[in-house]
Symmetry: C2
Subunit: 383 residues, 2 copies
C-alpha cells in the first residue's frame, strides 16, 4: 500500500546574510536556552569569531561553556569526551561555529549526551530514537553543509573508517549563515570547500532518491560555483563569497535529502584510512565516478554538463562527457592535486579501501550499482 | 549593528508523492498525537478522502474528532466556534485536509485554541507569542500553499475584510502532499489553483524581501505551471497533476518567505468585500499589477518573461512586456474571466476596496510603493 515514490524533504530554519551572526543569541533564546554549549576550534578563536559569538551571547544574557577540543576529521573518543563535558556543563542548547569538523563533532556530542551509549551505536541511517538538544549552527566555510544536513561523519579510530550517521534528528533547528565569516578564510580552504559543495550537488542530482525539490537546488549550486569561485578565489569579493555560501547551502539542501553516491563512499574511506582532508579527495575522484555513472543517467549528466559548459553539445552523451572534461580541467586550473597518488602514500591499501567503501551508506543511492571491484577500477583510473 | 540584508527561510518537513497520504497517521504519531483534530470539508467527504484519512488514523490506533464546518473564505466566527470544539474534543494534533479554506481555518482554530482571545487579535505580522499544537497538513489542491506557508487568511465579517495573519508559528510541522488527491478535482478548480500558484510565484519573485532561496523556487514554479497546466486541464494525466503540485509547493516555499505584493493585497480585499473566489481574481489583476511594478524591477520581470515566452526579446523591457502579454493571452485561453467587471457586481465600491487593500500586510513587500490611488488606477485598468 505504501509506494516507493514518496520523497521526503526536510531542512532547518535558515537565517542568511551579512551580519546574521548577531542573531545567534536570539535564536538560542528562542529555543529555550539558558546555558549554551558552544563548540568551535582554535582557527576560529584566532580569527576572532569565537569571541564575537560569546559577546553576542553575553549581550543576550545567556551563560555558556566553550568546547574546542575538535580536530579535522573528528574522532570517536573525542565525541565521548565532549559528551561528558556537555553533561558536566549542564547546558541546554548547542551552538556550533565552524566548518564540517566542529559541526559534525557538535552533532555527535549532542547525540551521545541525549541518547547515551557510544557514537558507534548510531552508524548508518535512522538509528537515533530520542530527540537531541536544540542546535543552532553557524558554518564558517561554504562547503560541508553540516548546518543543513542530516549527516554527521565521525572517524572510528580503531577501524580507521569514517562512520556516516544519518538521521532527520541530526538536522539542526536553525542554521545561521553569515558570509562575512568567509572573509577570514584562506584561498585553499575556499577552493576545497567549494569543490566539496560541487560534489554534493553533483552526487545528489544523480542520486537514486533525488526529487524535484532536491534537483533544483543541485543545479542552482553548480551554476553559482561556476560563476563565483574564480572571483572569490582571486579577489575575496564579499558578493562572490556570499554566492558560494548560497551554493553550499543549496547543495546541502539537496544532498541532505537525496543523499550522495560512490564518490563520497570512497571519500569517507580515504578520510578514515589516511586522514586525508575531505575537500582534497573530490578533484581526484569526482570525474572518474561521473564517468562510471554516466551510462545510467545520461540526461541528468547532460544537465550538469550544460551548466558546466554554458551550452549544449550535439547529443546528451557528448554534453555530459564534455562537462566531465570541463570539470577535470577546471580542477587542474585551481592548482589542486588531481591524481590519487598525490594524496595518499602508496597503493597498497586500495583493496581494503574499496571493500570498506562498499559498506558506506552513501553507496546505496549511487545511480549505478557498484561492487568493491568497480570502486577499485575507479581508484585505478584516478591513480 | 543588525543589518537589513538578513533573510529568513523556513519551511515545514515535506513528504511528497503518490500514496504519501498513507503516512499521515505515522506523522501525527511522531508529533506525539493520541487524539487528532481533523479539519476538512464536504467536498472531500464526497470524494472519499476524509474516510481515507480516518481509516489511516484508525489503522494507526489514533482516536480523532472531525470538524467540517468550513466554507470557502473562512469567517472569524467559525474560527471561534472551531476553537471551542477543539478544546471540548481534547485533541493534541491538528490534521487539515483540504484547499486553502480548510487549511487556513485549521490554522486559525489551532491559533485561538492555544493562544486565546479572538482571531482578530493576531492580524498582521508576528503577533503570535505561544506555540500552536503540532500540525500535519494535507493539501487537496495545487495552489494555496497553506500547507507550506506562514500565512492564514481569515475573513472579518463585520469589516468585510480578509485578514492576513503572518507568523513563522503558522508553518505546519509536516506537509503531506499526495498528488493523487488532485485526480478527484474538477477542471476549473485545477486551473484556478494553478493560477493562484503562478501569482504567488510572480509576486514573491519581485518582492522587496526576495532572497536567492525564494527566487529559485519562484522560477521553478512558473516553469512547471507553463509546462503542465494545459495537459493537466485536458487529460488529467497524473504526471502533469504531480508537476502542478510541485509547482504549488515551490511557489509556496517562495511566497511564505518573501511574502507577496499589491495583487494579493487587492485580492484579499476583493475576497473580503465580495466573497469572490480567490483563484478568480488573479487573471484579472495580475497583468496590470505586473505592468505597474515593471519600472522598479525590469530585469526580474524579464526573467519571468523569458520563462513565459520560452525565449528572450531584444531588451529586458521588451521581454518583460511580452511576457505579461503572454500571461494575459494565456489566461484568456483558459476560459476564465479576465476583466474586473465580470467578477464583481459594480464599480461603486472600488475606492473603499483600494483603501482597504492599502492596509494589507502584503502591500509592504510590493517592489513599487503603491498608494490607494495607485491601486485604484490598477483596478480601473482591469475594469
Amino acid at each position: 500500500m505504501i509506494t516507493l515514490q514518496v520523497k521526503k524533504f526536510s531542512i532547518p530554519e535558515i537565517i542568511f546574510g551579512r551580519g546574521s551572526l548577531e542573531y545567534v543569541g536570539l535564536c538560542a533564546r528562542r529555543l529555550g536556552a539558558e546555558k549554551v554549549f558552544l563548540v568551535s576550534d582554535s582557527g576560529l578563536e584566532k580569527a576572532g569569531w569565537v569571541e564575537h559569538v560569546t559577546s553576542v551571547l553575553d549581550r543576550e544574557k545567556l551563560s555558556w561553556v566553550y568546547y574546542s577540543d575538535v580536530v579535522s576529521n573528528p574522532r570517536d573518543f573525542q565525541i565521548q569526551q565532549g559528551a561528558e563535558f556537555y553533561k558536566q556543563g549542564r547546558a541546554d542548547v548547542v551552538i556550533a561555529l565552524g566548518g564540517g569538523s566542529p559541526m559534525d563533532a557538535a552533532k555527535g556530542i549532542a547525540l551521545v549526551a541525549s541518547n547515551g551509549g557510544k557514537i558507534h551505536d548510531y552508524e548508518g541511517a535512522n538509528r537515533i530514537h530520542r530527540p537531541l538538544p536544540p542546535m543552532v549552527f553557524v558554518p564558517s566555510t561554504a562547503g560541508s553543509g553540516s548546518d543543513i544536513s542530516q549527516f554527521a561523519i565521525i572517524t572510528d579510530v580503531k577501524r580507521r573508517v569514517k562512520m556516516s550517521i544519518i538521521s532527520r534528528t541530526l538536522v539542526p533547528n536553525i542554521s545561521v549563515i553569515d558570509p562575512e565569516i568567509l572573509l577570514t578564510k584562506n584561498e585553499s580552504l575556499i577552493v576545497a570547500s567549494a569543490i566539496d559543495a560541487m560534489c554534493h550537488a553533483v552526487e545528489a542530482y544523480v542520486s537514486k532518491i533525488a526529487s524535484p525539490f532536491t534537483e533544483v537546488q543541485s543545479l542552482k549550486a553548480i551554476q553559482l560555483i561556476m560563476e563565483n569561485l574564480e572571483t572569490a578565489k582571486q579577489t575575496r569579493d564579499l558578493q562572490s563569497l556570499e554566492n558560494l555560501s548560497i551554493a553550499s547551502t543549496s547543495a546541502a539542501m539537496s544532498f541532505s535529502n537525496a543523499s550522495l553516491g560512490a564518490e563520497h563512499a570512497l571519500a569517507h574511506s580515504l578520510g578514515g584510512m589516511y586522514d586525508v582532508m575531505h575537500g582534497l579527495v573530490h578533484p581526484v575522484l569526482l570525474p572518474p565516478v561521473m564517468r562510471f555513472n554516466l551510462s545510467t543517467c545520461v540526461e541528468k549528466m547532460a544537465d550538469i554538463g550544460r551548466i558546466l559548459l554554458g551550452k549544449s553539445r550535439r547529443s546528451a552523451k557528448s554534453t555530459a562527457l564534455a562537462g566531465i572534461e570541463r570539470l577535470e580541467d577546471y580542477c587542474k586550473s585551481l592548482g589542486v592535486p588531481v591524481r590519487l597518488r598525490k594524496i595518499i602514500p602508496d597503493d597498497s591499501g586500495l583493496k581494503e579501501l574499496c571493500r570498506m567503501a562498499s559498506n558506506d551508506a552513501c553507496l546505496l543511492t549511487n545511480p549505478r550499482t557498484a561492487t568493491w571491484e568497480d570502486l577499485l577500477s575507479i581508484c585505478e583510473e584516478a591513480w
